[in-house]
Symmetry: C2
Subunit: 145 residues, 2 copies
């Protein structure tokens, strides 16, 4: 073959590598739902306002798990249910999500009700993001990272 070690990446630029993981219109919405709405199940993600379709959702969940942002586990009580959890890598997407929220609240026609949690985080100062990440760790990382 011509190039047996071809890189799967368009470039080694940090911005580009991030976009290769979550640079689409859906991935960060799934992460958002896990962070701010406590969603963990396929059917819960499906019920979001933006109306993701089942095939796109299934595809993104697989890709996010492959990327190491989420993990997938069977619900011990309900064999049918799959439980998705944020990894530490996924939890550390919160600063990005928080900055997107800040930007949109300044420049986009956001729904005031949906802007409330972001405004509260801003009022909480620099420690609010860290505190929110720590809370997510307790929920998603059963103690260990």
């Amino acid at each position: 073959m011509e190039n047996p070690e071809a890189s799967p990446h368009r470039s080694g630029c940090p911005i580009n590598l991030g976009l290769e993981v979550f640079g689409d219109k859906w991935s960060l919405l799934i992460v958002r739902d896990m962070m701010f709405s406590g969603k963990r199940h396929f059917r819960e993600f499906l019920a979001s306002d933006e109306g993701i379709s089942t095939n796109i959702l299934a595809d993104r969940l697989v890709k996010l798990v492959e990327a190491g942002v989420l993990t997938r586990a069977g619900d011990p009580a309900h064999k049918l249910k799959a439980i998705y959890s944020l990894t530490e890598m996924g939890i550390e997407l919160l600063p990005i999500v928080a900055e997107i929220s800040r930007w949109s609240r300044k420049y986009q026609p956001v729904d005031p009700q949906m802007a409330a949690t972001g405004e509260a985080r801003d009022r909480g100062g620099p420690g609010a993001v860290a505190a929110q990440m720590e809370a997510l760790r307790r929920i998603h990382l059963n103690g260990e990272i």
Copy 2:
């Protein structure tokens, strides 16, 4: 008509509204090139490592101008050249880009050379982002915002 006031947005969520503007694999790369490489012309964007194609680049430039992130002006010295500038809205994407850079430098196989500017910004502390934004204002906003 059924719904004369249909919203063009999937939802009023801040995260979603941000993704509707730059939630794709190319838009933020154009912004990155303007911020960190001083690129202002079509042909310069075209020369990036990731290899954007001409039709996609033209499409994104139009959309970013429509969204208010960039402005387009003719080069007074060269009538053929179009000069793109960041607006204040575009400059305020820097905190988002900086956080993406931080995340990728922690979790993705970034090129060390391309990571250097991000690392320097991190070493500069909280004021480094603000200083970089101020520098961009001087270049792109001829005095007024």
